[in-house]
């Protein structure tokens, strides 16, 4: 028996392309072979560029997208297993697994008051028996995220981006979840507000014993909040390690360039540091490169990379990498 709260094995999500005509079997290979576990109370960070499948990963784990393959195990119970044709009803699990969306402008219904937005999950799961109890619970939630009771009767457009994101977080907390997928929760916010929200995520984790899957494209933020980080590229995992280990001793050539590409807010260091500039763009996930998907931009790529998919293996304790040329990279 594993000690993971959430486990996914070979999780896969392919989206069919619409309107392709007859016999068109093309798919967008958004997510392939995702395998990891998250321990209780842990924060797993997930980084990658746009189109690498990180949002798809978050949503597929919650089965907001139905997976096209693989296995999801939550707290010892199998939620989905393609091979054994298991797909349980998710409603009871929605109480345990929640999500905070990226865009606080689009993810709140503009015609509902903030009180109703936060109250909706309470109604769906019948968590409160009386109106008074429901009201108290909503106010309690708003206070928990740094808003107050007068905000409950207002509409989302009356709030700033940071406050809206707090409403989104209050909604996710309404059912007392154990596990939250945070899908780029701070990328739409101003710099000075980002720190407030990051601190709030940390406080809530401590108070409520939450487990996070924290998705973002900003590696320095992910590094700050996460215990471990997984790096994605074009729908596949390329590296997984402890967050300090990953940023300081990265092994995969993609992670290395990602780390070096982050602008350092320190002029002397910034002038000294040498960026590893990757050539070209991320290829299309409709027709990804054979073998290692990074090979078209990788300085070390050779024939083997085109022929074989590199195995995602443990190189040092807890540090997993998928690359054929680790010896060369070092």
């Amino acid at each position: 028996m594993s000690n993971y709260l959430l486990e996914v094995e070979h999780l896969q999500k392919h989206f069919p392309i619409k309107g392709g005509g007859f016999g068109n079997k093309k798919v967008v290979q958004a997510l392939d072979d995702l395998t990891f576990g998250i321990k209780k109370g842990e924060t797993l960070g997930m980084v990658g560029e746009s189109g690498c499948g990180k949002t798809t990963a978050g949503r597929t784990i919650l089965r907001l997208h139905e997976p096209t393959g693989g296995k999801i195990i939550y707290d010892g119970e199998t939620l989905f297993d393609k091979d054994n044709k298991i797909a349980v009803n998710m409603l009871p699990y929605r109480k345990k697994m929640q999500i905070v969306f990226q865009d606080p402008y689009a993810s709140l219904d503009p015609r509902m008051t903030v009180g109703d937005i936060v109250g909706e999950p309470i109604d769906i799961h019948h968590l409160c028996s009386s109106k008074q109890e429901r009201y108290d619970r909503i106010i309690g939630l708003l206070e928990r995220v740094g808003l107050n009771s007068e905000h409950a009767n207002r509409y989302p457009h009356e709030f700033s981006g940071g406050q809206r994101q707090r409403v989104g977080i209050a909604r996710a907390l309404a059912v007392n979840p154990e596990f939250i997928v945070c899908d780029e929760p701070i990328s739409a916010l101003d710099v000075s507000i980002q720190a407030q929200v990051i601190n709030m995520f940390e406080d809530l984790q401590e108070q409520m014993g939450l487990t996070y899957l924290f998705i973002a494209h900003d590696l320095s933020v992910v590094k700050h909040i996460s215990d471990r980080i997984v790096v994605m590229y074009l729908g596949r995992m390329v590296e997984l390690a402890d967050s300090y280990e990953l940023t300081m001793h990265s092994m995969h050539p993609y992670t290395r360039s990602l780390v070096s590409a982050i602008p350092i807010a320190d002029p002397v260091q910034a002038r000294k540091s040498k960026r590893i500039i990757l050539e070209g763009d991320v290829p299309s996930p409709i027709d990804p490169p054979s073998g290692c998907r990074f090979r078209t931009r990788c300085p070390y790529a050779d024939e083997r990379c085109a022929a074989e998919v590199p195995e995602f293996k443990e190189v040092t304790s807890g540090h997993y990498v998928a690359c054929h040329h680790l010896d060369k990279v070092k």
């Binding site: 560029e49 746009s50 700033s160 940071g162 406050q163 101003d190 710099v191 000075s192 507000i193 980002q194 720190a195 407030q196 990051i198 601190n199 940390e202 494209h217 590696l219 320095s220 933020v221 590094k223 700050h224 909040i225 300090y244 940023t247 300081m248 360039s257 990602l258 780390v259 070096s260 590409a261 982050i262 602008p263 350092i264 807010a265 320190d266 002029p267 002397v268 910034a270 002038r271 960026r275 500039i277 990757l278 763009d281 991320v282």
Partner: protein, 345 residues
């Protein structure tokens, strides 16, 4: 003009600029008393939150703050032009020619119904007397300059056929078509991924080396200004609250807002988990700005005077200055102490 004095020539001189947007909800004072100078070939970074006036400052140099925006005070001089009195026709002469801009979003700032070639050649034909073939040759040269391979093929493509990074390169090619004296980059990499951002920033610095233009880099990312800029202006609520060289700003910040900004970003190289120190509160409502210092409601060291009056400018050296009562107080105390010591002697 003598070559050796070139670097000393002032390219941009903005003095006490005030600019407001007259909206139905009331007057939004987007810029309040903004002053700065830029030399030729200099790279200035303007940082601040959304709504702090960083884009408006740069746009006003090109006359892009159209109705309901109005310049209501101060002077703007750019490369021998007094921007205040220029007509639209005169602006058209300098836009794209002496000053160009790269916008934030390369997805929407290119025209989707014209080919890339068409859009680059348009600028060249408008500002020079080159004919069609020459314009095309120049367009190919420009695309090569910004690192796009197969330029002949790209010229015939439409923007939707290119990736985000490619489109931003095309935008840069358009901006550089007439070798402007000043390039305004308005969050040029915000919509791009980090690895592509690194490519574009590298390209911009290379091109500056080659062409020697001045750059105004507008961004909210302190990391970008740290590596690219010589001078930094930190803006808050339509004012430059702190201005100085990059080293001044990062190693010797004086304004509470600047200090807060630097403290609130997580560092990649931090070994232990340090809690972030956020700036509390929310950005100011520009329709109803506070009476005194706009940052006062969020400032930890706010004093009574901060709520009443806007602080004057405190200079620390030739370039480094802030607008903060705390610095005023510290300076006054230092001066008093020095005066006392002198009297004792």
């Amino acid at each position: 003009m003598a070559e050796n004095t070139k670097n000393e020539k002032i390219l941009v001189d903005i003095q006490h600029e005030r600019l407001s947007f007259f909206t139905p909800a009331g007057e939004v004072k987007a810029l309040n008393d903004v002053s700065f100078k830029m030399k030729e070939g200099e790279v200035l970074g303007i940082v601040g939150e959304s709504g702090s006036g960083k884009s408006v400052t740069a746009y006003s140099l090109m006359g892009l703050t159209a109705y309901p925006g109005r310049l209501i005070g101060g002077t703007i001089d750019f490369n021998g032009h007094r921007i205040n009195d220029m007509t639209e026709a005169e602006f058209r002469e300098i836009r794209g020619n002496e000053v160009s801009i790269i916008f934030q979003d390369p997805m929407t700032s290119l025209n989707p119904v014209y080919t890339v070639g068409n859009q680059i050649e348009e600028v060249i034909k408008l500002h020079t007397d080159k004919n069609k073939e020459e314009a095309r040759a120049r367009a190919i040269e420009l695309l090569t300059l910004v690192g796009i391979n197969e330029p002949e093929k790209r010229l015939k493509q439409y923007p939707h056929e290119l990736s985000g990074g490619m489109r931003q390169r095309v935008m840069i090619a358009i901006a550089l078509a007439c070798e402007p004296k000043l390039l305004i980059a308005d969050e040029p990499t915000t919509a791009l991924d980090v690895t592509i951002q690194a490519q574009i920033l590298e390209l911009m610095m290379e091109l500056r080396e080659k062409l020697g233009m001045a750059i105004i880099m507008i961004t909210h990312d302190l990391g970008i200004v740290a590596s690219m800029c010589e001078k930094i202006a930190v803006m808050y609520a339509g004012r430059i609250v702190e201005y100085g060289t990059t080293d001044d700003i990062f190693y010797n910040p004086k304004h509470e807002y600047t200090k807060g900004l630097i403290k609130s970003i997580p560092r990649l190289d931090a070994k232990d988990h340090e809690r972030l120190v956020p700036i509390e509160g929310t950005p100011v409502d520009m329709l109803n700005p506070p009476a005194g210092c706009p940052f006062a409601p969020r400032c930890d060291s706010c004093m009574k005077i901060c709520l009443r009056e806007m602080p004057p400018v405190t200079y620390f050296n030739d370039v480094h200055y802030t607008q903060c009562w705390l610095n005023q107080k510290a300076e006054a105390e230092a001066a008093a102490k020095a005066g006392k010591e002198e009297a004792d002697e």
